[in-house]
């Protein structure tokens, strides 16, 4: 429970509230934005920061005991995994042919596509040749 007479717990509650604000706004962006890439950009950055703030609230509330170190480890995991997952999803969406929203003006990834696909085919062919019995 939060005791608002203690400045430390009040600071923890402020951090938790900010985290909730960022999480909610990120999820509103996930619902309202027009295509996958916009949703990914709103959702991943905003929700990651919001969860960082929630976990920092745990660290401020409990200090560096068992709970605080677990929260710091959780921050580390999310900092490592969330951008990686977002990158993989964006690339997979583009390669599986999800179209951009109607107002989009530039698609650099598409312009680079042919050269990259040739490289990938060569790599796959050499991998198949190498592993054939």
């Amino acid at each position: 429970m939060i005791d608002f007479a203690s400045p430390r717990e009040t600071a923890a509650f402020v951090l938790l509230s900010l985290g909730l604000l960022f999480d909610l706004l990120g999820c509103v962006g996930l619902v309202r934005l027009p295509d996958v890439y916009n949703r990914l950009q709103a959702g991943t950055k905003c929700v990651t920061l919001g969860t960082f703030l929630l976990l920092l609230g745990v660290v401020v509330r409990f200090g560096f005991d068992a709970m605080g170190w677990k929260a710091l480890l959780c921050i580390w995991f999310i900092a490592m995994t969330s951008p990686t997952g977002a990158h993989a999803i964006a690339r997979a969406a583009h390669r599986s042919g999800v179209p951009l929203a109607a107002g989009s003006v530039l698609d650099r990834y598409q312009e680079d596509g042919e050269a990259r696909d040739e490289t990938r085919d060569e790599t796959a062919a050499s991998a198949r040749g190498g592993s054939a019995p």
Binding site: L20, L30, V36, T51, L54, L55, M67, C74, I78, A92
Partner: protein, 87 residues
Amino acid sequence: MSPLELLMAGLLVAAALCLWRAWRGPTPADRTVSVELLGTVMVGFCAVLAVKTGKDLYMIVGLAWSLLAFVGSLTLAKHLEGRRLDD
């Protein structure tokens, strides 16, 4: 309703918005995005539960959930792209 319960209610609203996108998402990529975001939001929910109860069991649940959401979204992304897991 205590302040922490208000925070939990707000996080549940955020999770419901993620689930709405997973239900209505026009493409499979939308659903994958919402699964990853749902994992991250629920880690935050576990953090608020840990503050509310003072038990570090909930932080362990959050740790496991963050890694599982990562592995799940990565697997779905590979599947969308039409590649195998060792490619």
